[in-house]
């Protein structure tokens, strides 16, 4: 069988597999009343288990580490089929999207065997220990210290924006192991068991309400020496690589979620109405919706083009900054438009008098403000593009 035939066969198998395994209860039927959220959670969990068993949560990873061992082409086919079937997308978790790829490349055999299969099965939750109260955009100025004492690092300090730290089993963490070395060279990359004594976690409330973000405090936390990934003092290199994956993950938010209850045009049609020709009955809004939809299309195409270029060996590592910058701004624009379309229904905070969907729009609008800040603010992304891609002078 030649290559395109094989790929087509894989496509058919994948489509069949999705059709067989996707819980019908998760399908959104317009007009149907919303199902019990607890039931939905169970169905959703089952779906994730199905994906995990196929290795589809980490489709690129080797099978020995719980992946599906797919080629890039097959992964693209898989993603396209998942999108086409409008199923709940696999989670973007810190373990799967951020740590996993870096661990695959730089972890010791023992580290890989210990962590990767659990990540691929969605059985261990990871959080990211990067930012600190005093080190946001200027991440490399971080001051959480890890002092080597015998076979252990002793960690002291404070991390912020550690998503899901209150539920996490592990944290990958940037620490300063050498305070005499130049800023970027005194940083190391540690894997820390969250049950270690001395760690305490406090959730952060956002403008959008409760959130997954936490502050994490380290008070004489003892971490085995072997939990370092990469060499002592070379953590910044790994940190930057991981940031690229984070930017990719954040950029992909803007391409739109296939299972969103209503698309932007549908929402506009529902709230504003349509004329006899089926067009959104407000030409200004219609143009704004078209702009958003068109830009989502452009972003999707740029993503697949950058993947094609990477495959052809012509990729730029810094395309992730472009995608993150653009994706997050697009998400913001989209939510601005959604809340404006909802009018007074979009200003409810909670409780009666507002539909759950309208309340969701409002919270999502607020939460989206963070997209252009997290993972390196968009101003930082512009700096990266100017320096690394355009090679503008310092």
């Amino acid at each position: 069988m030649n290559k395109p035939d094989k790929l087509e066969q894989f496509r058919r198998q994948t489509a069949d597999w999705i059709a067989q395994h996707y819980p019908p209860q998760l399908r959104h039927t317009p007009g149907a009343s919303e199902e019990d959220p607890r039931q939905l959670k169970i169905h959703e969990k089952n779906w994730l288990t199905q994906l995990a068993e196929q290795g589809y949560l980490a489709p690129r990873w080797p099978k020995e580490y719980g992946g599906a061992g797919l080629t890039d082409e097959q992964v693209r086919v898989l993603n396209r089929e998942l999108r086409k079937a409008q199923v709940r997308s696999p989670p973007i978790s810190a373990g799967l999207s951020l740590l996993g790829p870096v661990l695959l490349e730089h972890g010791t055999p023992a580290q890989k065997a210990q962590h990767l299969p659990k990540i691929a099965r969605n059985e261990s939750v990871w959080c990211q220990g990067y930012s600190e109260p005093g080190s946001g955009s200027d991440l490399a100025s971080l001051s959480t210290r890890a002092d080597l004492q015998g076979d252990e690092f002793v960690v002291n300090g404070q991390k912020i924006w550690t998503s899901h730290a209150d539920a996490a089993d592990w944290m990958f963490c940037l620490v300063r192991t050498d305070r005499e070395a130049p800023q970027h060279e005194g940083i190391s990359f540690l894997l820390i068991d969250m049950t270690t004594p001395g760690i305490s976690v406090a959730p952060i409330r956002l403008i959008s309400g409760p959130s997954a973000f936490c502050q994490t405090y380290f008070d004489d936390v003892r971490v085995p020496k072997d939990n370092i990934m990469g060499q002592l003092g070379q953590g910044w290199t790994l940190a930057k690589q991981l940031l690229q994956y984070e930017r990719q993950a954040l950029g992909s938010i803007g391409r739109g979620d296939a299972r969103r209850a209503l698309t932007l045009p549908e929402l506009a049609a529902q709230e504003i109405g349509v004329n006899a020709a089926g067009q959104i009955d407000d030409p200004v809004l219609r143009d704004q919706v078209a702009q958003c939809e068109l830009d989502s299309l452009a972003l999707r195409l740029t993503m697949s083009r950058s993947a094609d270029e990477a495959r052809a060996g012509r990729g730029s590592a810094h395309i992730a900054s472009t995608l993150k910058l653009y994706g997050s701004e697009l998400t913001n624009r989209r939510h601005e438009l959604m809340i404006s379309i909802r009018g007074a229904d979009g200003i409810g905070w909670e409780g009666p008098g507002f539909t759950p969907a309208a309340l969701r729009t409002t919270r999502q609008w607020l939460r989206a403000k963070g997209n252009s800040i997290e993972g390196g603010s968009n101003e930082i992304q512009r700096n990266v593009i100017a320096k690394r891609v355009l090679e503008l002078p310092e």
Binding site: Q279, L294, D295, R305, Y326, R382, L390, P393
Partner: protein, 379 residues
């Protein structure tokens, strides 16, 4: 198909770049503008391009073409756009030539397509009558009479309409102004009695004409395609032409962007390169992102045409809308970043903005194509 160039396309790109570099110095735009030649392009260079096979890139081999696709055409047009090269590609190949290919009789095709491919003949499509691209807004009438038609009306912005060997004219044979039905195409020589051609002077110094038809008598054999059914021929023609023009515009905005980057790296003020100022860095980064999207959409639209996909029209409109907006952004920003020197005629950067403005407008501006994108998307 991958959104990257194949090896053959890379070769084509390199040879196009070499040819363009050797033959189209930017200063040719000023020479055309200030010179006496009303043709506004070099017939000799066009014939050289035809010798390279470019004029027949998308035409079947039986008519002397290369039988390649829009993706290859886009590669060549992008390079031409980079140097603001004036040539009758859009008019002769993508508009009139393609309309003949899609709608012409066997005789008409055999007579004209080989001449187009060889560069021997240039053609123009006379369709537009209003300020905005609105192709069915046609008042020019062709009244059927004894054994033929009588043509009356006026056509504006006929690209390369001055000096063309043949004119393909869109006229109303039935129906009301604005109706998609009732339009017909006629192929006629520019010296037909009753026809007058006035060259226009446009921002980009290219060739365009105002054409007046005063009781122009035509025999039936001048009709191209079915009577009253020209819209069905022209719809795909406009899509192909928009996709090609888009590739040319992408070349133009890319060159303007790259020249601006060079300027940011060489111009010094306050003892520093102005490209070190964050106010300019961030705007340059934004332009870069915008251009990346214009590239993606442009390539995808060309491929969709080659693969004859159902979403080809939607992608062409998405690409034209986006590329026009990006061209406008880069045009504005580049002149601003060049500062005072950018305002002078001596500096080239203004020439890019002018050409971009004309290309943005031609075959529908961003607003037109966003509206069409909305219609085709079903909202």
């Amino acid at each position: 198909m991958a959104l990257t160039l194949s090896e053959e396309q890379e070769l084509l790109k390199n040879s196009a770049r070499e040819f363009v570099k050797a033959n189209f110095p930017i200063d040719q735009v000023r020479q055309l503008r200030d010179g006496d030649a009303a043709l506004r392009y070099s017939r000799e260079l066009w014939q050289q391009m035809a010798k390279l096979g470019w004029a027949g890139i998308i035409f079947p081999e039986e008519y002397g073409g290369l039988g390649l696709g829009y993706a290859e055409l886009g590669v060549v047009l992008e390079e031409l756009g980079r140097s603001l090269a004036a040539q009758p590609f859009l008019s002769t190949v993508l508009l009139a030539g393609n309309a003949l290919l899609l709608g012409g009789s066997k005789d008409q095709k055999q007579q004209w397509l080989p001449q187009i491919c060889s560069g021997a003949a240039t053609l123009a499509l006379a369709f537009q009558e209003t300020g905005h691209f609105s192709p069915w807004q046609v008042e020019t009438r062709a009244e059927a009479g004894d054994g033929g038609f009588c043509l009356n009306g006026e056509k504006r912005f006929v690209l390369d309409g001055y000096g063309a060997d043949q004119l393909l004219v869109l006229a109303r044979t039935s129906g009301g102004v604005g109706s998609r039905d009732g339009l017909s195409l006629f192929l006629l020589a520019p010296d037909t009695p009753g026809l007058s051609i006035t060259p226009l002077s446009l921002l980009d110094s290219r060739n365009a004409a105002l054409i007046n038809f005063d009781n122009v008598q035509l025999a039936s054999l001048h009709l191209v395609g079915e009577l009253d059914r020209a819209a069905a021929i022209l719809e795909p023609v406009f899509d192909g032409a928009s996709a090609g023009l888009n590739a040319e515009l992408l070349g133009t905005l890319s060159e303007a962007f790259e020249r601006t980057l060079t300027y940011l790296k060489t111009r010094k003020q306050f003892g520093a390169f102005i490209g070190s100022f964050q106010a300019l860095k961030h705007r340059a980064a934004d332009m870069f992102c915008e251009r990346e999207h214009a590239i993606s959409l442009t390539l995808e639209a060309l491929r969709a045409l080659d693969e004859q996909r159902d979403d080809a029209a939607l992608l062409v409109s998405a690409a034209k809308a986006r590329t026009a907006d990006v061209a406008n952004l880069i045009g504005r920003e580049s002149v601003q970043m060049f500062g005072g020197i950018g305002m002078t005629d001596e500096e080239d950067i203004g020439l890019y903005m002018k050409r971009a403005r004309v290309a943005e407008m031609t075959l529908g501006d961003a607003r037109y194509h966003r509206e069409r994108f909305a219609c085709l998307s079903g909202f």
